[in-house]
Symmetry: D2
Subunit: 129 residues, 4 copies
Amino acid sequence: MEKEKIAIIENDQFAKLVGLELVKVEQGYAEVRMEIKEKHLNGVGIVQGGAIFTLADFAFAAAANAGRTVTVGINANITYSKPAKGKTLLAKASETSASRSLCNYTVDIYDEDHDVLVAKFNATGFIKN
Amino acid sequence: MEKEKIAIIENDQFAKLVGLELVKVEQGYAEVRMEIKEKHLNGVGIVQGGAIFTLADFAFAAAANAGRTVTVGINANITYSKPAKGKTLLAKASETSASRSLCNYTVDIYDEDHDVLVAKFNATGFIKN
Amino acid sequence: MEKEKIAIIENDQFAKLVGLELVKVEQGYAEVRMEIKEKHLNGVGIVQGGAIFTLADFAFAAAANAGRTVTVGINANITYSKPAKGKTLLAKASETSASRSLCNYTVDIYDEDHDVLVAKFNATGFIKN
Amino acid sequence: MEKEKIAIIENDQFAKLVGLELVKVEQGYAEVRMEIKEKHLNGVGIVQGGAIFTLADFAFAAAANAGRTVTVGINANITYSKPAKGKTLLAKASETSASRSLCNYTVDIYDEDHDVLVAKFNATGFIKN
């Protein structure tokens, strides 16, 4: 990847705050890991939906911006399936389709210790030309 | 509201990390404010989608859990309309429908300084009986 | 509206099959009515989700294509709140935001006889320039 | 499958109107085919979004109601990737997760003649106990 692209991903302050680690990235695919800590929990003691969304969204942004002109998310949806019980979440983002101006991604978020699907996320990006 | 309910909202560690302030809450309605800081920005210098989602989701959770048995989010979607240019975001969550087991919410997120709609969020909650 | 635009809306064969009546249309707003008939019902005797979606989607398409270059839907979501008990459904589509290439719509679908919200629909359109 | 379950699927009047053919169904999985005809087209001559949604939704309903107590869709989203150019659409619905009261499905809709992904659909169902 070009340097500028890496900067877009690495300069994400909110991803740093949340504690996201970019594990793998190539055009159209990315994996991001989040070690679950006290700070990620909601009032009933499970990982907050916003933390899971942020993890998935960052994996999408990394994959969509790898080797391409800037892509911005225009909308996204998330469905939660099981609460995470392990210590690590892993998000895997894959491009499912793309045209000149738009791209679509699916992100699966796993409880890495138990290999359980925690949530599914879909997003559409607008490719700035 | 009963004490236990307030605890669910106030003990949210992730909301504290992100810096969310519960401004108003009653059954079926809530407002949450977020002062935009460096930590909320993504790699291109605008508020990260995950931060906006977290703000909206917390407003939904507060409104849905006010004066009712525990409600958990089962899915949500967000559509971004304009980047925030001001210093504060305000999310307003309203219940649009509810049955015995399910409730639906719409959350509008505004750039409070410019009175501009930044994003729209919809979520469905499962009411634990 | 220009003639060509009216044609796009009036030549919709699927809308004819389903029995949709365009009640009102102007740039960014439309109302479409559907008289509920036997053909719209699913296997448990209520209006099929696909019929409600089609009604909402057509209202969105009419509003988004009124007085503008061709707009195509890129994604949409629908949340069902109550089964329709009356004889007519009315969908009201409103634009919530728009930029040069994208527009966002919310469509509320009512049981017109009982003034009850049956479903909420959101869609994003791509404006072809 | 029990007879009553088959009835729920086979008595769907709207599926008949649209011309949907249930190709395969078992608990958690279904395939539905739609031969593209004039009646499915919108005003610009491509398959109407509502027809594609209805195809996907019926595949979801068939899979979710096969061998289980009645399941009703509570919300759904669809993302369009490419216009269909062939003569047949095939929808494949798979359950991605389920709990006691809720189930989640992903449906991929293909242009069968060109093996191209036309749309992706996700839905959440409520399992009536």
